[in-house]
């Protein structure tokens, strides 16, 4: 306790040593050591080996598929997620609270269940797949299908980031804009949406990060054709099944590096928004 006392302020409440010690030990064993093992294993190939594995055409194609579809899905979700947040916060209509609760369904529904359900709907013989097929559009087993699965799992991130900010935006700000002569369109486009920008960006980044790493809901609907509809997490699994552990570790390291970069950008957005607008998101 005396040694720990140097870096923590004194308190009459007991239990710091026990709880802090357990927290650190548990975190190290469960999270930290395994992650370090991953990075060590990928560096085992050496500098050239690492880049050879990372720049393999199939790996690049899988990374591209993952990132492009995730970007599109996050983009679609930003538009409709903002709209849904707006509708849920601002309008009163029958069933609103039920729809509000349903937004969280993708958090709660196991990804494999979502995966086979989406496939059942969007496959060529499925409920929506049939309709799309009449227009000559294939959804399942193409990147469109991947995007749809990513839209499913990303939506709550966008809605739940924007909703609280919108709730605390007072009507007075809109009234002020109106008294200054702005019409409704100007109020929404010049006052409301810009003030939501940090929340929208944060929601986008969260939905994107989740979609890039997503596995369960995507693989059923993706078709998993190499170079076309094969996502990066699936390629990791394939490498493992080939007992190419180092190859799997390389892809994983690249993905981790990118998602940590995203996390860093996210923190920058929030720090910037807090500094400038006086609120985080």
């Amino acid at each position: 306790m005396t040694r720990l006392g140097r870096f923590r302020q004194p308190s009459v409440i007991p239990g710091f040593g026990l709880t802090f010690g357990f927290t650190l030990t548990y975190f190290s064993l469960i999270i930290l050591v395994p992650l370090v093992a991953l990075v060590l294993r990928s560096t085992g190939l050496g500098w050239n080996g690492f880049w050879a594995a990372a720049l393999d055409p199939r790996v690049l194609a899988a990374l591209r598929t993952s990132f492009v579809t995730a970007l599109i899905a996050a983009g679609v979700n930003v538009v409709f997620g903002t709209l849904i947040a707006w509708v849920l916060v601002r309008y009163r209509f029958p069933g609103r609270r039920i729809f509000d609760a349903m937004v969280d369904l993708p958090f709660a529904l196991p990804t494999a269940v979502a995966g086979i359900a989406l496939t059942a709907i969007y496959a060529p013989n499925g409920f929506i797949g049939q309709i799309a097929a009449q227009f000559g559009i294939r959804i399942a087993y193409t990147p469109i299908g991947i995007t749809i699965a990513m839209i499913f799992i990303g939506l709550p991130f966008v809605v739940r980031t924007i909703q609280p900010i919108l709730e605390e935006t007072s009507k007075e700000v809109e009234e002020a804009s109106a008294t200054l002569g702005a019409n409704r369109f100007q109020t929404i486009s010049r006052v409301l949406l810009p003030s939501l920008t940090p929340a929208i960006l944060t929601g986008f980044a969260l939905a994107f990060a989740r979609a890039v790493g997503e596995y369960g809901s995507v693989i059923f609907i993706a078709g998993n054709i190499p170079f076309v509809s094969e996502i990066a997490p699936l390629l990791i699994v394939i490498r493992l099944e080939e007992f190419n552990y180092a190859g799997a570790a390389v892809i994983a390291t690249v993905m981790l590096a990118i998602s940590f970069a995203m996390l860093f950008v996210l923190n920058l957005i929030q720090a910037w928004s807090r500094r400038r607008y006086g609120y985080g998101s």
Binding site: S170, E172, E175, A176, S177, T179, L180, A182, S195
Partner: protein, 344 residues
């Protein structure tokens, strides 16, 4: 621009907030809507602004019927209690906003907009802070930005809703003085809402005292203070003490004791109102005599609480803090100025 509120009624979901209110506001005057919360003062202000629609009645700006116009078309400046600044815009962008959203035909050139915004920031003494964001300013500074923003559109009427309500006492007093100066310089017709009588008395040309959705009295601060027309106004503006009395043969009586005040009209029970400082100490039988219940010094005066008629009634009177009567256990006094209202 004079503003005429004509027989306006407003209901929210069948709950009446204003009953048949009429008010004439003269061009260039600074008028305060004063009342406790729930009196309808903010509703009246928002009706003038066009942020609410009256259930019945009309509002005229000059000769023009403004009730038919949207808030955007009324050209009013509105200042909110919690500033309602646009937090993603700099101070300069906030002030410029009203000019920038104008239709192209009436919008000034960009440089002109900037020039006018800077001029206004100068007027509210915030030059040099153009590039800051609202979150980087103090409450008092934010409210000054809000005022500059409202003035930028050259409003026909300036409306302020509890403009100093969210600020601490020191800043309130400074801004009060400063608002009066700005008003005297710019001459806008200004309506402001407050629940603080001291603020209203100090700042306004005229007061409009409201209670329970009705206007109780309109007049200059002095006339409202000196000649309150209802027990509510007497009680709400300034300090007051009150006693149930009887009028008999031109004299006032508290129980069986005459107050030594004569020449009163009417007959029967009434309610006497007087200000604690509007009294004189007397050594006569015909006076109010009370037992001192408590005596506290409040700054330069001494506030004495007296029990009268046994301990049936309590009144407060003010004495100079070093007056020898402050040491006595019994005090006789007579109200110098007073007012009678029908008994409650």
């Amino acid at each position: 621009m004079e503003v005429r509120v004509q027989n306006v009624r407003k209901e929210f979901d069948r709950f009446p907030a204003l009953h048949d209110v009429s008010l004439d506001i003269a061009s260039g005057e600074l008028i305060a809507l004063l009342g406790p919360s729930g009196s309808g003062k903010t509703t009246l202000l928002r009706l003038i602004a066009g942020l609410e629609r009256p259930t019945a009645g009309k509002i005229f700006f000059g000769a023009e019927d403004a009730s038919e116009k949207n808030v955007q078309e009324r050209n009013i400046g509105f200042v909110f209690q919690h500033y309602a600044l646009f937090r993603h815009m700099t101070i300069l962008e906030n002030v410029s906003f009203g000019l920038e959203v104008r239709p192209r035909a009436t919008r000034p050139a960009k440089a002109e907009i900037r020039r006018r915004a800077r001029e206004l920031l100068d007027l509210v003494q915030l030059s040099g802070l153009e590039k800051r964001y609202p979150s980087q300013l103090s409450g008092g500074q934010r409210q000054r930005v809000a005022l500059a923003r409202a003035l930028a559109i050259e409003p026909r009427v300036l409306l302020l809703d509890e403009p100093f309500g969210a600020l601490d006492a020191q800043v309130r007093r400074e801004l009060r003085k400063w608002l009066r100066e700005i008003h005297d310089r710019t001459g806008h017709t200004t309506v402001f809402v407050t629940h603080d009588q001291e603020e209203a008395l100090e700042l306004a040309d005229r007061l409009c005292v409201m209670s329970q959705g009705k206007i109780e009295q309109v007049g200059t601060p002095d006339s409202v203070y000196d000649h309150p027309q209802s027990p509510f106004v007497f009680g709400f503006i300034g300090e007051s003490s009150t006693l149930p009395v009887t009028v008999e043969r031109g004299d006032l009586w508290l129980g069986d004791r005459p107050l030594g005040v004569s020449g009163v009209e009417g007959n029967g029970p009434a309610q006497l109102y007087f200000r604690p400082h509007d009294i004189e100490l007397v050594e006569a039988d015909a006076a109010l005599r009370g037992v001192v219940a408590s005596s506290r010094r409040v700054g330069g005066t001494r506030r004495v609480e007296l029990e009268l008629g046994g301990s049936a009634h309590r009144v407060e009177i003010d004495l100079p803090f070093d007056h020898p009567a402050g040491e006595r256990s019994q005090i006789s006094f007579r109200p110098k100025r007073w007012k009678l209202f029908p008994a409650v």
